[in-house]
Amino acid sequence: MVTFAIAITILFFLMRAAPGDPLARVSEGRALAPAELATLRARYGLNQPVVAQFVSFVRGLTRGDLGVSIEYGRPVTALLAERLPATILLGGSVLVLNFTVGLWLGVRQAVHRGRREDRWLTTVSLVGYAMPSFWLGLVLAWLVGIKLRLLPAAGMHDPLLGADAGIAAHMVDVLRHLILPVLTLSVVSIAATMRYQRSAMLEVLSLPYVTTARAKGLPEREVTWRHAWRNALFPVITLFGLWLPILVTGSVFVEAVFAWPGLGSLAASAVWGRDYPVLMGASLLVAALVVAGGVLTDIAYAVLDPRVRLA
């Protein structure tokens, strides 16, 4: 909570400290009469001293009021709420992929440590980690979407699909649109998961109880998954907290590239339109998510590991 409060304060003063006029874009194209400017300033509260602005900003926050979008003329909270589901769908799918395929690959690497498979997987994941998500997204959109025409290259729905097409058809449609963005975000983020899982697994595999399990004559598969992996899953949970910022940052680019109607593309278009209230709202939401993710991680850790107590 304290952390979040500090984050809010930092965000607010950062924006006010930046050299430039938030109204520069509104008045673009024509010179505003001083009277008009004064009206606008009064409307956005820009004529008050900074501290007073901060107080009214925090007061609005407690009421769930994040102000009005300059571009859309609608409350920021409504815009954010509208865009949230698409981002949850995208981020959730990436998470699921990371925590299934990513963990599985990490375990395999640890089991085959130092062999060709391990080395190849490490190299491939490092290359993925070095890729800018917007570039990978564009390349995939071009190759798969435009050249091969296998999947749609943008959006979330096929505009030609009628409302009467049935739920199943609509779901397949959304899924087909989902594949490329999910693939892009997964490729750039899976390296961290694999790496964590690999090292956690290596540590566990060197413990005596694993040797005991082997000595009992248990099949290797059983030793790996039932004995070792259970304890190696643990450190990976901490990854979740580190992971949200990567996901959120990546989704700004991936959603912008694929025109996915989520929070990320909202933030990107707020950047292009210089829509500060929306940008501020999105940043606040992200900060809240990151703090909540950290708290959840701590709780999960305490629940799963009896040695840890919540302070």
């Binding site: 930046a18 917007f134 940008l279 940043s283």
Partner: protein, 279 residues
């Protein structure tokens, strides 16, 4: 200092680390020498006959304004690498200063500084930068470098603080204190040199992050401003001609991947050398 030098040598003995270092050197040399040997990256010799595919004369093709893509990629390397080096240097300096003050003074100073760091870490760096940069119509390059550097030290300060907390209890530090050494002496003679190893690792891995970040900001139009060639803005420009001239976007992206990958390979090897137990 010697420990940092020893880690660099150890990283060089690591095959992956060596590949990373060599690739990084190649990119740096290309960035320094290349622009003198290649056509002007801003020249638009034939504005109606742009988007030539890769071929003789233009190994990477030309973009929609008939500019040579190879020249632009190489000039972009200059921009990207200098932004990365300067910004990372700034982050490392601030991070080391804050971490040392926080770890050595302790008490209220430490509590206050670390709370601020916690708050700042809750906001992904990209969003902090978006908020500040979006106010600017045209971002001057020095300001961009300053801002990227000023937003990258939070994790580093934590790292240095942890290191200082550990070192503070070491015998030689206590001995120096017991002999009446001044704070400045302890900080600069004993603590700082011993935090150089972890600091160097963080900085090297930070180079890759900053290159990706700068490319991302430029892709959103908030980073390096046209017509200065930068990898991110080249990819952005290529969006319009993705179908007819994909090479205009593919090559700058490959340059990003290559550079970030080599910095990370070298950084990983360094980390293994400094702290073999870490992931």
């Amino acid at each position: 200092m010697t420990s940092a030098l020893a880690s660099v040598k150890a990283a060089w003995r690591n095959p992956r680390g060596r590949i990373g270092a060599i690739l990084l050197l190649v990119v740096s040399v290309a960035a320094i020498v290349g622009p003198w040997m290649l056509p002007d990256p801003l020249a638009q010799p034939d504005i109606l006959g742009g988007s030539l595919p890769p071929g003789p004369g233009h190994p990477f093709g030309t973009d929609q304004l008939s500019r040579d893509v190879l020249s632009r990629v190489v000039s972009g390397a200059r921009i990207s690498l200098s932004v990365a080096l300067l910004a990372v240097g700034l982050s490392a300096t601030i991070g080391a200063a804050v971490g040392m003050v926080s770890g050595y003074w302790g008490g209220l100073v430490d509590a206050g500084l670390m709370r601020i760091v916690d708050g700042a870490l809750a906001i992904p760096r990209l969003f902090i930068l978006l908020l500040v940069l979006a106010v600017w119509e045209q971002v001057p390059l020095p300001a961009l470098i300053f801002l990227i550097g000023a937003t990258g030290w939070f994790a580093t300060s934590r790292l240095v603080r942890a290191e200082v907390l550990r070192l503070r209890e070491e015998g030689y530090v206590r001995a120096a204190e017991a002999m009446g050494a001044r704070r400045r002496h302890v900080l600069f003679r004993h603590l700082l040199p011993n935090t150089m190893g972890p600091l160097l690792v963080a900085a090297t891995l930070g180079v890759g992050d900053v290159i990706l970040l700068e490319a991302g900001l430029s892709f959103l139009g908030l980073g390096v401003q046209p017509p200065t060639p930068s990898w991110g803005s080249m990819v952005l420009d290529s969006r319009e001609v993705l179908v007819s001239a994909p090479w205009a976007g593919i090559f700058p992206g490959l340059a990003i991947v290559l550079t970030v990958l080599s910095a990370n390979l070298f950084g990983d090897a360094l980390r293994d050398a400094v702290d073999p137990r870490s992931i």
